[in-house]
């Protein structure tokens, strides 16, 4: 039911009619999401909880497909629950889901710099959800990216959402076709051969981790990935479609060459183990990536145990150890590197046991 003016004239008639005929949901807001589908917010009257009504373009009788049946039965803390899934004629799939408090990870990445511990905890949660999709349901997500991972502020956990593009893989070493929805997150095998494996999802989680820990990934200005020469070539094309094709071609080449998520762009303070984990997750050959999410999770937990928490602030780097010991690293007015140490309930004290280079105080601060 609808009790307020929704201003949803841009939505298609079939969807407008559908939301107005849901007697158990009070629909109060409409958001146009373009190619990502139509989104409405509402409140379930009997349950008194906030929900999201999402409509995607779909094949006929989508709700009867094997994937749709599986999706409705998934119950895992790191996967967004689907309360209802229906086909809306002529060609829309309707998903009813809970509304999550903290928004998506892309919004969080855009608003603040996450600490390494926060980032790794998020990746752990995503991998637990992915493990459920892979091992229990033989599903690949095909569109994992920060924009499709929500963060529940109440439970402090990430939740994999937008599972409309999941596909079932019928053999352990089998593959499905790739989803073309988010080009920048496609793994090399999807670009080269339109093949998508279980390990292709591992690649996408690798990109999420890369973004979370601060690797160079200009998602809002992807033209920045191109060299000046490439930019000129794209600019010289007049036709818009040809322009996009050329741009995608350049980006595709970079994905294949491993130049989109370069581990040498990671923040200076991350040690080699972060690079090793990311290089394995993002390996060009899907067979050389983590075989399954659980092996990736094991290495993420190992990083959580072995590394202190790095918090990058505008004027300093904080390095926090589990037992409460903290270091801060900054440049003074004479451009010298300064390292200070603080133990619980004490003030900052200079630590001069380093040689003034950047690496030396970092190795002091990293020690437990």
């Amino acid at each position: 039911m609808v009790t307020v003016k929704l201003n949803d004239e841009d939505s298609v008639k079939a969807i407008q009619d559908f939301v107005r005929n849901t007697p158990d949901i009070d629909v109060y807001e409409y958001i146009r999401r373009g190619c990502n589908g139509e989104v409405y917010f509402g409140k379930r009257i009997k349950m008194n909880d906030e929900v999201v009504l999402k409509f995607y373009w779909s094949q006929k009788d989508y709700d009867a497909t094997e994937e749709a049946v599986i999706l409705q039965n998934i119950d895992h803390k790191n996967i967004l629950k689907i309360y209802d899934l229906r086909f809306v004629p002529p060609n829309y799939a309707y998903f009813l889901k809970p509304r999550i408090s903290g928004g998506d990870l892309q919004g969080i990445i855009d608003s603040r710099k996450l600490s390494t511990k926060e980032s790794l905890e998020i990746v752990s949660g995503v991998l637990l959800g992915l493990n459920e999709l892979h091992s229990k349901h033989n599903l690949v997500h095909r569109d994992l990216k920060p924009g499709n991972v929500l963060f529940d502020l109440e439970k402090n956990i990430p939740i994999i959402a937008d599972i409309g593009s999941v596909k079932k893989i019928h053999q352990a070493d089998g593959y499905v076709t790739a989803s073309k929805s988010t080009f920048l997150y496609l793994p090399p095998e999807a670009i080269l051969a339109n093949e998508y494996y279980y390990q292709s999802d591992i690649y996408q989680v690798g990109i999420i981790m890369f973004q979370l820990v601060g690797g160079y990934f200009p998602i809002h200005s992807p033209i920045d990935w191109l060299t000046e020469r490439e930019k000129k070539q794209v600019d010289a094309i007049r036709n818009r479609d040809d322009k996009c094709r050329k741009f995608d071609e350049f980006i595709g080449n970079k994905v294949v060459k491993g130049q989109l998520a370069k581990t040498n762009s990671l923040p200076f303070y991350l040690d080699a183990t972060f690079k090793r984990v990311l290089n394995k997750a993002l390996n060009f050959h899907y067979e050389r990536r983590y075989t399954n999410p659980s092996l990736f999770l094991k290495d993420i937990h190992s990083l959580l145990r072995s590394s202190p928490d790095y918090v990058q602030e505008p004027d300093r780097l904080l390095i926090i150890h589990e037992e409460g010991k903290e270091f801060q690293l900054y440049e003074n007015s004479e451009k010298e590197v300064v390292l200070e140490k603080r133990v619980p309930n004490k003030g900052w004290r200079k630590d001069n046991s380093h040689n003034g280079t950047l690496e030396s105080p970092l190795s002091v601060a990293r020690k437990k």
């Binding site: 637990l128 493990n131 459920e132 091992s135 399954n292 092996l295 145990r305 589990e322």
Partner: protein
């Protein structure tokens, strides 16, 4: 068809995964791994260990999982580490497949009567390999 053999040694659990194909060939898969815990008194590390083990078991999808049984009453040099029993308890909480206790004497007597094809990829995996092999051969 897959089985998992586990040996718990002080603060680590050694997992060996064996797979049997349609022709009866048994191979060790690259899902075999070691799971450890640095400080068993830290709740977050205990939870991480639980998550890793459960996720690994789910991914592997083994039909039988066995663990090398240890004598809880062993004394002196033979006394198992108390931490290992904590890890064993976490492993046993997995509820999709029952975790079987397999005594060393059982595998020894099995391999006296049955030839073992192949061996563990690494020496440290020998005992876990024998448990997985025993389970997959039955």
């Amino acid at each position: 068809m897959k089985t998992i053999g586990i040996q718990i040694k002080s603060t680590e659990a050694i997992l060996v995964v064996l797979e049997k194909d349609d022709e009866g060939n048994i191979t060790q898969t690259n899902e075999s791994a070691k799971f450890s815990i640095d400080d068993p008194n830290k709740p977050n590390q205990v939870r991480q260990f639980r998550d890793q083990i459960n996720a690994a078991f789910d991914s592997i999808g083994a039909i039988r999982i066995g663990i090398v049984a240890r004598n809880a009453n062993g004394k002196g040099d033979r006394a198992p580490s108390p931490i290992s029993f904590k890890l064993e308890g976490i492993v046993q909480l997995y509820d999709k497949v029952d975790i079987e206790q397999v005594w060393k004497q059982t595998t020894n007597s099995f391999f006296k009567k049955n030839a073992k094809m192949g061996s563990a990829k690494n020496k440290y995996q020998d005992d876990a390999y024998e448990v997985a092999y025993y389970l997959i051969s039955q």
